[in-house]
Amino acid sequence: MKVLLLVLALQSPDSLSVRFAGMTAITGYEQAMGDSLLALLPGATRDRLGNVTLSLGRGAPKRLVYCGLDEIGYVVGNITDDGYLTLRRVGGGARLSPLFDQQIEGQRVTLFGTRGPVPGVVAVRSTHLTRGRPQPGEAPFTVDNAYVDVGAGSRDDALALGLSLLTPVSLSKRPHRYGDRLLAAPSAGRRAACAALAAAALKKPPVRGTVVVAFTVQSLYADTAGLKTVVNSQGPFAETRGVNVPSKYPDTTVETVSLRDVDALAADLVKWIGGGR
């Protein structure tokens, strides 16, 4: 009984929101989060792009409900002779806040290397040595000035840690609960939406016709290639629903969602899957 209660608790929208918000799935490099979803959702499959889908029910009508699981992030762009790693941003484009890259300056990051996660930090000028900088009007920090320090003293040291060009890099995630059921984390809105969708699917609701539950990749890159792949390979769909949770402070490290909204969304999705509105 206790084990059952524990399993149910771990599959609650609250718990899944915190878990998903702690994961990293940089656009195009969503493999690890896809693995977690496959383990969480019995019967789910993954296509060649990395979309994870779960088909519920059978027959007509065939409907699609989806969330984008990816996030804007970075990959290693180069490794210097003295062991620092420089970065290339993935995703974002023109709509990105000029302050987006500044969020990693002087913070801890995680590099997802071939030998496992490697902690590092993004270098920042020492306060004591700034000598009057930054000036009040100075432009924000950008990824072009990001040097990741993993403690390596040479390029070979960095390579030996399992790091190489294209290793995914993100802020080290520490989902942070505060106030009255508020959750702050990078991409909290997107992850909470996926958590609500997963929680609804795990409830095994009655289904009207067929519902394809999709966790799509590359939603922030290449013209939503992930979603289009699902539509083209598993459609046509009589109805399509993308899920979202309202968030405050979007695209910041403390993007905040209310877990009450996640509960409400999960309940609404259960109804929708069953054919209700």
Partner: protein
């Protein structure tokens, strides 16, 4: 991550293991200037069992060893940079006052902890809502999720409480580590490690080890100690950060002390100048004990400078630190071992 940590641990010497265990406990204690009690408690827990401590009215923690009336003072500060709750606004947000100097943008839009006598209250440093093309934000505010002053107060928030960002000691590759407040928990760790190995029978004079308060807001704790001991101090050693230019972002015209190459004599900074003969004596002592020592000049002030007006020579010593006063400071544990050995040597042989 676990496998990597295990591999690193196998490579560690027992000295590195001990240094890390002391340092990690200190770094994961919170103590903004004026609210150092949690750090003081951690220091007391880590000291050798024979050490008798005294806390003065300024909050400084003293450990006296040896005999005599004119002690050598060795001082490291317990406090860290952060914020203080200045006002609880009508909309429930908190207006802040900085405690110490740092780049404000490093805290903007990050998780926050409001420190109380009991459980910490979680919140967030609010991201700015204008001025997106400038690096520096307007004065930061914190939200605890409340929408009114009464709501914030009902969560336990009070004016005067201190605020920081959650922090964690994290091991990097080799013997490197990252975290926040290595400045000056490395100094505190060096004193503790030196005391653990100190041969008290060798002392030729009294030595007072001081864990000081409120360094970041004007060397205030050390000022109280200097006032009390005055001209009767034989010599003072501030054990504090050597802010290093060993970084791709720094000018290389001074402060270039590479990490991992040992302790650093902070011979010239913004608060004191060590007489060259004393620097030479320190270098001789290090050579005699086979302790790695670098000699350099950097920016910042140090607690020992509060003794200089009493005619006391200040011989500050430190270790190279990258990215000072940021949430991602980086150190090398080998330098901590070297510094602890040097502190011990100074107490026993100089």
């Amino acid at each position: 991550m676990i496998l990597l940590a295990a591999l690193l641990a196998v490579q560690d010497t027992s000295r590195i293991v001990e240094a890390q265990s002391v340092l990690a406990a200190l770094v994961e204690s919170y103590g903004v200037s004026g609210m150092e009690a949690p750090v003081r408690a951690t220091v007391q827990r880590l000291l050798p069992s024979w050490a008798k401590t005294e806390t003065d009215t300024a909050g400084n923690l003293w450990v006296r060893v040896g005999q005599g009336d004119t002690p050598v003072v060795i001082v490291a500060h317990m406090d860290e940079i952060g914020f203080r709750v200045d006002t609880i606004n009508a909309d429930g947000t908190l207006a802040l006052r900085n405690r110490g100097g740092f780049i404000l943008s490093l805290f903007e839009g990050k998780p926050a902890l409001i420190h109380t006598d009991g459980r910490d209250i979680p919140g967030i440093f609010l991201p700015r809502d204008s001025g997106f093309t400038r690096r520096l934000p307007p004065p930061l505010r914190v939200s605890v999720g409340a929408t009114s002053r009464a709501g914030a107060e009902s969560l336990g928030v009070k004016v005067g409480q201190t605020i920081t960002m959650p922090k964690q000691y994290v091991r990097l590759a080799g013997t490197r580590a990252t975290g926040r407040s290595f400045d000056d928990r490395m100094g505190c760790a060096a004193l503790i490690l030196a005391l653990r190995r100190l041969d008290r029978a060798k002392l030729k004079h009294a030595v007072v080890f001081v864990f000081s308060t409120r360094e970041e807001i004007g060397l205030e704790g050390a000022g109280a100690v200097a006032h009390r001991l005055g001209t009767g101090t034989r010599r003072v050693h501030a054990i504090d950060t050597f802010v290093s230019a060993d970084s791709p972002l720094e000018l290389q015209n001074f402060a270039v002390a590479p990490l991992g190459q040992g302790a650093v004599a902070r011979a010239l900074d913004n608060s004191s100048i060590t007489p060259p003969a004393y620097v030479d004596s320190l270098a001789q002592l290090a050579r005699a004990r086979s302790i790695a020592l670098q000699i350099g000049t950097t920016n910042g002030g140090n607690d020992g400078s509060m003794f200089v007006p009493y005619g006391v020579v200040d011989v500050p010593m430190g270790w190279p630190l990258r990215y000072s006063h940021s949430p991602a400071e980086v150190v090398d544990l080998k330098d901590l071992v070297s510094l602890a050995d040097l502190v011990r040597a100074v107490a026993e042989d100089w």
